[in-house]
Amino acid sequence: MVKHEDVRAEAKKLLESGKVKYIIAYELGADGWKANPVFIKKPEDVDKIIWGPTCFHNLIRFVVDEKRRKVQQKNPDTRPVGVMVKGCDSRAIVILLQEKFIERKDVHIIGVSCEKTGVIDERKLANKLKGRKAKNVEFGPDENFVVTTEEGTVDLPASEIMADRCLECIAHVPVITDVLFGEKTKRTVPHPFGSVEKIETLSSEDRWKFWSEQLEKCVRCYACRSVCPMCYCDECVADTITFAVSPDTTAEEKAQKIKWLDKSPVISENIFYHMVRAIHLAGRCIDCGECERACPVNIPLRMLNKKLEKEAKLLFGYDVGFDSEKPALISCFRDEDPEDFIR
């Protein structure tokens, strides 16, 4: 079991020695039971750091932001940033390294093992508690969570309130770390692609109907894009306001900017946006589930990415985010790649 004190001691050591610029970690949120991301800059603040089943956030997004800030700075502080990572988050670092967006020396990775469980799904918990308010959620000794409400403490099995992505997780322990807390446990995952199994049985008409209904809801707030550690392009085809114009952008380049899709949240444009995002995440999405968690209208976005992850695995045996030395999925053509889908 990961002990808070150990993580805090490590953080203190890192900050005191000046080895890291700051540490991106989790603290207890204002509501008193859920975690929030926090930037710890001073050694005396390390006691804020917590670790628990409500640490949903993929903090690697802040590493991406740090890199972007650094590019803008004239004399940037080149020390690494410390970052707390779960197994899934660590794979995002692997992708950023693979794509040479960051260098290994840019991050000091403080890994925490999810051991036998993972993080909870807030909605599942709310359904379970039927209106009662949670006051505290902790890891149980076995595959369970200990949930405290005003009416007392209940033991809930992981299978009932854990996030879907944790049920399908293939990296319970961070794959790349500088320091690791917790046990290197192994957990069997009976259905690694469970969330797409049901929809795969539907006919193409039914699938179209399902997705049309889901994507109709999209308000194009781009929360999914903002929260995604892989969505780090300066320019996004989805909206013209991101188009980068720098002093050396030529008139020709400005004229070449294309409006591939319309801003208005209508179904055709929504589908276009989400399809482009899904395709651009093929072989890059590490299933941290942040897009789906951040979505204000509950679109099951993970399903799109999971499907592509499954295709990559089944067709090409490609595991996303485990080896930063390997070429990316779409640039690793091999002669023996299957071609039977080409007709």
């Binding site: 794509e99 040479k100 967006f101 780090y232 392009c233 300066d234 320019e235 085809v237 980068a244 720098s246 050396d248 952008t249 380049e253 004229a255 070449q256 294309i258 591939w260 651009h280 070429p327 990316a328 779409i330 640039s331 690793c332 053509f333 002669d335």
Partner: protein, 650 residues
């Protein structure tokens, strides 16, 4: 400035006009924005057609041209040259393919006309955004590399050298000569193979323009047409050919005996050996795979002890030699289909079941039996010999689907040679068809039947097994429908030809395509049979497909003349439609670097850079880049979007 595009719609006789209403397409195009001229004509590619385009460019002051006709593979160059003659940049001419991609594949005239108009509109949108580009020019290294020292490689090298160009001939075995040096007599004239080959081998060794590198392998090829950089691994022979006086004392003392490759395993050779007496270069090779033998760690040193001229040097090391060449000819030849695959014919199980090459060695005057045909098992003269054609060929279920082409002829030759050696013997040939197309070939087969009494049995052999010292051959004669049983003394299998060992790996190094059977792929099966898909690399001999000596030699000369076509140029020109990096979008992720088939993209200052000379403009990088930060000139995202809109619109 307002665009002035000219549209020229070709009827192609009725090829296009039969399905597409060309007049209405021309009329519709005239209404398009920026179109200043729109006409149709029966054959645009004809001289009057081309003149029409040139005249219109001049008269109507056109700044770009779209020709709606056949595939750009056929006449793009024709029309681009016409545009250039009329004074506009050749890249201001685009082709709309309304034949292969429209009229030939559709029946409904209304719909086909609609589609043709949209394809043309899309080309108009593209051409209006095309940049004027000039070809990229590069100098030429006037030297050629020939890979493979069989008859094809020898012929190519001699032709190139004869034309005055320097040639490097690389052969991986210790001597040039290839399979042809193993043959006894050659069909259809029955002249001695070595007698016609060795003069050419000698010429190679004496030619001042040829640098011969035997016992060497091509390790790496980089660069592009006109300017390849090659790394060649020269394996150590441990014998200095300059000192060696061919006294043969070393082989007498060498204790290690291994199967002799030249005699296809019918005899043994020592670890230090000369492949055959006429080998070029005439020198010995110490085979370090077998010496020292696996049970000792250090060579016994006997050969060095007896060598009076001190030619043996155990300290010789492999060397990597770097060369620059302008053109490459690949003549890696063939090997026979693996024996292990022919278990049904008892190959490898019975000593007297041989393959075609082994039988050649038996017939050869320089062979293990000095030209006497004797059974390997008991050295007796075989009185009944069964030859089986298509052993491994024409069998898509189990073996090779293709016809190995030469087996009909060499089997007839084998049967004939056998009769010439053993007058009272009987030769049987099991065949599926006899394919004897070629000058003097059919007459040759007839001679085998009529003069040498060879019995041709149409059918396949079902089983071969040994009984009472005879090899029983069970088959069927499908013409009479009767089962056949022959008590043979020897069976000869006409094994299929397949690409030589290692050809696949070499093809990968050279980035050459291969066909489904592993033979090197030609650029066009009919019109470019000696060119490979990579510019500046040519194919010769059986590496490309099974072929006999005359065909291999003809192709070798063809490849040489194609290579001379490159080497004789002052400079080469390269298409300027290459990839371009948009620096402010590039994040330096390197996906394009990994995916580029031509190694044309490299990292530079955290971003990437395109080597325009290496880039072939294939667009793989552009399709891979998540950020549209790399685009091919004249096929930019912007153009693609406009083309899509034009295709979809209205």
């Amino acid at each position: 400035m307002k665009k002035r595009t000219g549209i020229f719609i070709c009827h192609c006789g009725i090829n296009i006009a039969g399905t597409v209403d060309v007049k209405s397409v021309a009329a519709e195009m005239a209404k398009e924005p920026g179109v200043a001229h729109s006409v149709d004509y029966v054959y645009m590619c004809s001289d009057p057609g081309q003149n029409m385009i040139e005249q219109a460019i001049k008269d109507k002051k056109l700044d770009s041209v779209v020709v709606a006709c056949c595939s750009p593979n056929l006449h793009e160059t024709t029309f681009r040259n016409a545009a250039k003659r009329a004074g506009i940049n050749s890249f201001k001419c685009e082709i709309a393919n309304i034949r292969e991609q429209c009229s030939w594949v559709h029946k409904d005239k209304g719909k086909a006309t609609h589609k043709a108009a949209h394809l043309t509109k899309s080309a108009v949108k593209k051409v209006q955004k095309n940049e004027s580009l000039e070809p990229i020019s590069v100098p030429v290294t006037r030297k050629a590399l020939v890979i493979g020292g069989g008859i094809s490689g020898i012929q190519s090298a001699l032709d190139l050298a004869g034309a005055g160009y320097k040639v490097i001939l690389v052969e991986r075995s210790p001597s040039i000569g290839g399979h042809m040096s193993q043959l006894s007599e050659t069909f259809p004239t029955l002249d001695c193979s070595q007698c016609i080959l060795t003069p050419k081998m000698v010429e190679v060794s004496r030619h001042p323009n040829i640098k011969l590198m035997t016992y060497s392998e091509v390790q790496e090829v980089t660069g592009y047409v006109g300017n390849f950089k090659v790394k060649i691994l020269k394996k150590p022979t441990y014998v200095d050919p300059a000192k060696c006086n061919l006294c043969d004392e070393c082989t007498k003392v060498c204790p290690i005996v291994v199967p002799n490759e030249f005699d296809v395993g019918l005899t043994g050779r020592r670890a230090i050996y000369i492949p055959f007496p006429q080998a070029i270069p005439a020198s010995y090779t110490l085979d370090d795979k077998n010496c020292p033998d696996p049970f000792t760690t250090i060579a016994c040193g006997k050969c060095a002890d007896v060598c009076k001229v001190k030619a043996i040097n155990y300290d010789m090391k492999p060397e990597i030699i770097e060369e620059e060449v302008g053109a490459i000819i690949v003549a890696t030849g063939f090997d026979l289909y693996d024996k292990e695959n022919m278990a049904e014919y008892g190959y490898g199980k019975y000593a007297d079941v041989l393959d075609g090459l082994q039988f050649e060695r038996l017939c050869s005057a320089s062979g293990p039996t000095q030209g006497k045909i004797l059974r390997p098992s008991d050295h007796k003269e075989p009185k009944e010999v069964v030859f089986i054609q298509c052993s491994g060929s024409r069998d898509p279920e189990l073996h090779c689907a293709y016809c190995s082409k030469i087996c009909c002829m060499y089997t007839a030759k084998h049967a004939m040679l056998y009769k010439h050696h053993v007058h009272d013997g009987q030769a049987y040939i099991f065949y599926i068809d006899v394919r004897s197309g070629g000058k003097g070939y059919e007459e040759f087969v007839q001679r085998a039947v009529e003069e040498d009494g060879v019995i041709y049995l149409r059918g396949k052999v079902s089983k071969i097994f040994e009984e009472n010292g005879k090899i029983k051959v069970w088959g069927v004669d499908t013409l009479s429908g009767k089962p056949i049983e022959i008590d043979a003394d020897m069976v000869v299998l006409a094994q299929a030809m397949r690409p030589s060992n290692g050809a696949q790996e070499l093809a990968k190094k050279l980035k050459l395509g291969t066909d489904k059977d592993g033979f090197l792929a030609e650029a066009h099966p009919k019109l470019r049979p000696v060119e490979s898909v990579t510019a500046g690399m040519f194919l010769a001999g059986a590496a490309q497909a099974p072929k006999d000596i005359p065909e291999a030699v003809a192709q070798a000369s063809g490849a040489a003349s194609k290579a001379i076509g490159i080497l004789s140029q002052e400079r080469l020109y390269h298409s300027p439609t290459v990839a371009k990096v948009l620096k402010n979008l590039c994040t330096g992720c390197g996906m394009c670097v990994a995916v580029c088939p031509y190694d044309a993209i490299a990292f530079k200052d955290g971003k990437v850079e395109v080597n325009e000379v290496l880039c072939e403009g294939c667009g793989t990088c552009s399709a891979t880049c998540l950020r549209a930060a790399i685009q091919v000139k004249n096929l930019t995202q912007n153009q693609v979007q406009e083309m899509i809109l034009a295709c979809l619109g209205g």
